[in-house]
């Protein structure tokens, strides 16, 4: 177990030469042992990944934590949720939700939604991140949320989620961005337009109890 939950806002990672950790820059709270920090580019997918990040604006300044010791991670008092990925399906989330993850996990940028949907939503999702990050492989991920992320199970049905409250998802899930009349009152205060994410299939969706981004 590379991440130990210290409390709702802090995790402890045991770092070794065999198990380095990638973390958001500015997230290190403290450490003991012989540990070093090295800035790295946000996406781990090589040149293509980096280009993807540059295009999408999903640049997420990360750093590698290497050496031997124990490191505490947290970020601005936000809540932290630790997920164990078994490799069967990637975690999909916005890049700035990533507090830390096993360095062995691969990240790549994905465009959420196809052309049709993109045409429908136009530029209105700007700032809300139609581009998301996929985290592949087996290992642990620590995710940030405002107030904590609660899991919603989807099993053959679909649920609606406020894009601002969406944290991420794992499983065989299809995400569609839908504008919906009347929803203006339900979601996205001040955003001018109302969208919801319709998520269907089977898997787990993580939602936070807040519309605040950070």
């Amino acid at each position: 177990m590379p991440f130990e939950t210290v409390n709702s806002k802090v995790v402890r990672a045991r770092v070794s030469p065999q198990a380095p950790v990638l973390a958001r820059r500015g997230a290190m709270l403290g450490y003991s042992g012989r540990v070093g920090f090295r800035p790295v580019r946000g996406q781990g997918g090589g040149m293509a990944g980096f280009l993807g990040a540059a295009v999408s604006g999903e640049t997420n300044p990360m750093m590698a934590t290497e050496g031997q010791g124990e490191v505490l991670y947290g970020y601005r008092g936000l809540h932290v949720t630790v997920l164990e990925l078994d490799g069967s399906a990637p975690l999909v989330c916005e890049a700035d939700r990533l507090l830390a993850h096993d360095a062995g996990l691969q990240t790549s940028v994905q465009f959420l939604g196809s052309g049709g949907v993109r045409a429908a939503v136009g530029g209105a999702m700007t700032g809300q991140g139609l581009f998301t990050t996929n985290v592949h492989g087996r290992g642990a991920v620590a995710l940030l949320s405002h107030g904590g992320a609660f899991p919603l199970q989807v099993a053959g049905t679909s649920i609606g989620v406020d894009p601002q409250a969406y944290v991420g998802h794992v499983g065989q899930l299809q995400v569609d961005v839908a504008a919906r009349m009347g929803l203006r009152d339900a979601v996205g205060r001040g955003s001018g337009e109302a969208f919801q994410l319709r998520i269907s299939g089977s898997g787990t969706v993580y939602v936070q109890a807040s519309e605040q981004k950070f």
Partner: protein, 247 residues
């Protein structure tokens, strides 16, 4: 719904993780804005004003930088304290000392003595008595040797004051220039407070910095160390920075 009254509220203990109840019988020092509600006969006086009627006050509260942010609560009653919904903890000192981030100190009983720490933004409490401090999330206690991010450092007890450690690898990566653009802004990992010796270090999840009015007063008082021409240079740099940030 659970309800509380003066008899059922705890005495000098937490009501919930975010609220502390002081059973006042005499005097406590309290940070302005920390009081949520109270029962009983309680008066609040500026520390400066109260010191004219109680000479011991000046001896207990020896920090001119922080004095205007504090009051003396006097009387009898139950006083409820809170701070931004943060977690609140009581600390009992027994002929000891503990240094804590000034912004997170909410109250201390009048037996304790407060002094300004050498480390900016921190104060030290000395003696025997109780004080109340807030933290963003529960407090994490660790033992030296330990290096802490300055934003996550809540305080320390017994061990020597920290020194500043700069991460060699981080600095060399930064100096190599390959990531100059990305590295222009410090993220915190390049600089830590290094604790050694025997003692305890207190940490919290780093918080979004809150403006501490005392920091301005503190730095201003230290500009007396500068010569006239140095002070002029500093003034020009600050003006340039302010203009740059307007754009």
């Amino acid at each position: 719904m659970q309800t509380w009254n003066p008899a059922t509220l705890p005495a000098d203990d937490n009501v919930n993780p975010h609220v502390f109840c002081v059973a006042l019988s005499g005097e406590w020092f309290m940070a302005k804005g920390a009081m949520l509600a109270y029962y009983g006969d309680v008066r609040f006086e500026a520390v400066t004003a109260y010191s004219s009627v109680a000479s011991w006050v000046a001896a207990r509260f020896s920090s001119p930088v922080y004095v205007q942010d504090w009051v003396v609560a006097a009387g009898h009653g139950k006083v409820l304290l809170g701070d931004r919904g943060f977690d609140l903890n009581a600390y009992d000192l027994d002929d000891g000392n503990l240094t804590i981030k000034a912004n997170n100190l909410l109250a201390f009983d009048q037996r304790l003595e407060l002094k300004q720490s050498i480390v900016p933004g921190f104060v030290t409490l000395l003696g025997t008595g109780k004080f109340i401090a807030s933290s963003n999330g529960p407090v994490i206690f660790v033992e030296p040797p330990f290096r802490a991010d300055p934003d996550a450092l809540l305080g320390w007890a017994d061990c020597p004051s920290p020194s500043v450690h700069h991460d060699t690898e981080w600095m060399s990566a930064s100096m190599a220039g390959m990531l100059q653009g990305a590295m222009g802004r410090a993220s915190g990992e390049e600089r830590q407070y290094d604790f050694t010796g025997q003692g305890t270090v207190l940490l919290q999840s780093s918080e979004i910095a809150r403006e501490d009015p005392a920091v301005l007063r503190l730095i201003e008082s230290q500009t007396q160390l500068l010569t006239t021409s140095q002070a002029g240079t500093l003034g020009q740099r600050l003006v340039a920075r302010a203009q740059q940030q307007q754009h």
